[in-house]
Symmetry: C2
Subunit: 327 residues, 2 copies
DNA sequence: ACCGATGTTGAAAACGTTTTCATCGCCGCT
DNA sequence: AGCGGCGATGAAAACGTTTTCAACATCGGT
């Protein structure tokens, strides 16, 4: 039925070894190479990647495990990772965990069975804390989130600085009652909160924080509740793009004017944040660069398995818009 | 080094065939089954999927080929496809073509080499028109876009009706000079345009259309140019979410009030379309349903290879917002 | 002219599974 | 008691490649 390397070899009058060498990079004389290439075209041969992977023990495949591809941050990072991967001749297997540790474990096991050459992973804190060094059969590069220090390569935003920058900016604009709305499952939210609290302390202000599951619905519900309370904040720092959207929705339904009644500042410079009235002040993450750096770290690790663990920390860019105009 | 099925067999005191049967669904006595399962746990065995795929000739893998995962429509559809696939025990290989026929061909070849069980594909017209029936080694389900009728299963929006509905709605609101901004590479844009033109004709109005590459930058540039011309339209029908964002940006930079100077209506009910001022009138596509239906068609096709070709046509939902308020 | 080095080629083993096929034991039936 | 059938099991083949290894030819140096 399907044409295999034996058929090509027969058609070209050579051995399968020679065909394999033509396909790969082995030494073959020009004459035979031409014959084989002609035979490949004539037969319409397509190599069987499963067989190739089995024998060569190189799967040329990486896993990409994120919380939810619909989060625009992960969408953009994924696209950058995929571009870099395909350019290097690697396949990508994409998995969505929905921040569920069980699914994270499930997909990590899948990656072992696939014998992937490496994995790029944005883990929940629950999983990240239990991640041991050499326990998986492949190197892991963490993105957006970190685990215990020194165990895995990773690329993250300077979250502490970014959280602090938003607070500094709001204080400069005259805000004093500054609330913080953070996701509950990631080290990233924790770090942004740490930066937020440190900056507030530096200014002699008191923190007021709430934690929610990292999706827009939960954020909107929590923010709406919060904004209806008597001691509600007059400014809000929000730890990612989904939550920011939820917070804006809550402000709208609560009939609070932004920035008049409530200043708003968050993360992720998504296209809609400057179309919305007033534009939203955010810290922009270098999403494409994060994806590229992750692939770069992975390649380096594969080349030099024993090189010390590296963490790439990228700076965010504060984009000031109307949502933090001086009240 | 790595533990294989032979090691498990040795540890359990059985043959590799028995281990394989325990892992799969072969007939094994309870006693041996327990022994083998214990041995699997004890050895930490992980099956090698490459070997399994090679021998069993079932890759349990599908390809998902879209233009750009960053287009929120494809993001949402992909997520639905992946959920359905993983639930059925299938892996997904995701590819972005950027509407480039060469990359489409490249990825289709890759899918052949992967020996995928099927592919879900949103092709450009260039590729779709050349797609022959049995020429690839796997069934193809088209999404969002169609090829020559009768060749491939597919699931699409009722684009003609949706395009007409937007025009009807605008006419009802009093618009007469209604322009159309459409993507240039997909059958979907073509159909939406057909619906737009048919509806205009029905109302005795003249069409004015422009075609652009389907990305926000191109749309913004073209719309800005158009809106600066003397005979500019007073309403715009835009054929997808990316273009709609570009058109809105152009209206903003041209200092045209929406809907006062320019009414705006488009496709894809993305979260930002109701946050923006005024809310945008759109036809909402049932994105999750499209993904699920595509997987369903694929499963049906795999079970009944010779069943007649099916096309699932889903209806859109008109969501009326401020951007088409009566001028 | 001989020898070693170098480079090209093919036969056959190997990769880790699943599947085929034959064997064995057991049961129920005549 | 003998026999047919059936379910469980293992030995070995098979999946389609890459890789090893040995054989062979060619060539430059003595």
């Amino acid at each position: 039925m399907s044409v295999g390397i034996r058929d090509v070899a027969r058609a070209a009058g050579v051995s399968t070894a020679t065909v394999s060498r033509v396909l790969g990079k082995g030494p073959v004389s020009e004459a035979l190479r031409a014959q084989v290439e002609a035979a490949v075209r004539a037969t319409g041969y397509r190599p069987n990647l499963s067989a190739r992977r089995l024998r060569s023990r190189e799967t040329q495949t990486i896993g990409l495990i994120v919380a939810d591809i619909r989060n625009p941050f992960f969408t953009a990072v994924s696209r950058a990772v995929e571009d870099a991967a395909y350019a290097a001749g690697l396949r990508v297997i994409l998995c969505n965990t929905d921040e569920d540790p069980e699914r994270e474990a499930l997909y990590l096991r899948l990656m072992e069975e696939e014998r992937v050459t490496g994995v790029i992973f944005a883990p929940t804190t629950a999983t990240a804390d239990g991640l041991r060094a050499g326990s998986l059969g492949f190197p892991v590069v963490l993105i957006d989130r970190t685990g215990p220090p020194g165990l895995h390569d990773g690329v993250v935003l300077d979250n502490v600085a970014a959280g602090a920058a938003l607070v500094d900016h709001l204080v400069e604009r005259g805000a004093t009652r500054i609330g913080g709305l953070f996701g509950s499952t990631s080290s990233t939210a924790r770090e942004r909160r740490a930066g937020y609290e440190a900056a507030l302390a530096r200014h002699g202000l008191a923190p007021m924080t709430r934690a929610v599951l990292p999706n827009a619905q939960a954020a909107e519900a929590e923010a709406a509740r919060w904004l209806a309370e008597p001691g509600r904040p007059e400014a809000l720092v929000v730890s990612n793009g989904l939550l920011l959207m939820g917070a804006l929705r809550a402000a709208r339904t609560s009939r609070l004017a932004v920035p008049g009644d409530l200043a708003l500042a968050g993360f992720d410079n998504e296209p809609w944040t400057d179309l919305v009235e007033p534009g939203l002040t955010v810290v922009e993450q270098p999403v494409a660069e994060i994806g590229r750096q992750a692939m770069h770290l992975l390649f380096d690790r594969l080349e030099h398995p024993d090189q010390p663990v590296r963490r790439v920390v990228l700076g965010g860019r504060l984009v000031v818009r109307g949502s933090t105009r001086r009240g």
